[in-house]
Assembly symmetry: C3
Amino acid sequence: MDIAEIAARLRALEDREAIRALIAAYGPLADAGDSAGLAALWAEDGSYGVGGMGTVKGHVAIAGLIDGPTHRALMANGCAHLLGPVAIELDGDRATARGHSVVFRHSDGRFEAFRVSANRWDLVRTADGWRVSHRENAVLDGNEVARALLAQPAICPPSMV
Amino acid sequence: MDIAEIAARLRALEDREAIRALIAAYGPLADAGDSAGLAALWAEDGSYGVGGMGTVKGHVAIAGLIDGPTHRALMANGCAHLLGPVAIELDGDRATARGHSVVFRHSDGRFEAFRVSANRWDLVRTADGWRVSHRENAVLDGNEVARALLAQPAICPPSMV
Amino acid sequence: MDIAEIAARLRALEDREAIRALIAAYGPLADAGDSAGLAALWAEDGSYGVGGMGTVKGHVAIAGLIDGPTHRALMANGCAHLLGPVAIELDGDRATARGHSVVFRHSDGRFEAFRVSANRWDLVRTADGWRVSHRENAVLDGNEVARALLAQPAICPPSMV
């Protein structure tokens, strides 16, 4: 094992760790109402397709989702944006991650899982580190679009030897 | 620190990452309905004990769980197989991982956590990388069997210095 | 890249892995009823602020939460302490991790997400490895205290290049 191999293996582990950290930050930032911090998870020209609610692009528009009345009402009543672990595929300076998200809503003293979704995150390595280039989200209500977001290339887990 | 130590430490990190990736792929593959991809997470002779529904063995039988009428009906109505992070213990070419799984079911426009389970994953290093040798699952409905799946050797977290 | 750099990068990855492993062990230990194993995740003088139920300190008191009548009744009926992935910030021999927890309770043949919380974990490197110095938990029922636990320094994800 030479230095070049060590560097490549460290890099692959760090890439996966950075992508995991990026996505793990989403839920806490959303529930803390930190719209600027949340938008900064995306690349400058990054976009977010929110299932059934259209696609927004750029930091200002993404921050607007968090500052808007729908999200603020959720926060006021109590909510949790729980994201599960993601299945990550690295491809040089690009990556894809797939996983579930659950939005719990608090009302009348109870919690309800009112939005359970599929997510595909497209990621890009920038000068500042990994960022989201696009997140596509769709509610898992039986539609084929949501299921397709979770479909993985056959090679995915076997390639992590 | 010599090359042998570096190699051992890299290997341990990669092993844990590969096991995490393997298990993180389960939910997306299940909800995408990719029965062959899901079965390929298991070793050829791997088995899956589904709490209250018996044990199946081998790729064909495991794929059959995903292609069967119960799972297809779930998918048609909308479902999410959310798995939490796993507590991993490495032991050379074997490993164990423990964690929760939640199956959300969509019906009448609402989501219900209709199956909340304990899981113990036994894993083995194969020529193609880490694979599941056995997954044992049991619903956390108060029975002792389910709780026992989550019990960990005392050494587990302390050993990760 | 020299040996010192390799060592530092390996160490950072191992630190994050150890912290993830520590927190991933919490839910399984809680649901298995292993009070001593769970308490051992904390440093000797560690503490746990359970939202709305005060703060306990030290292994004996933390184990008491698991051995007490409230938790034992939950276990007898069926429960799952599902914790999501955590957003980790390392700072030398200290670290912070933020994430959600959901307690599912089984009753009348159904599961209910009856406690959905924010968590901030403060961690410390000890002679035996990483341990929890304090966990602060608060139900996400709309109160500002819970949201504040999830607020992150702006630098968090960008620092993971």
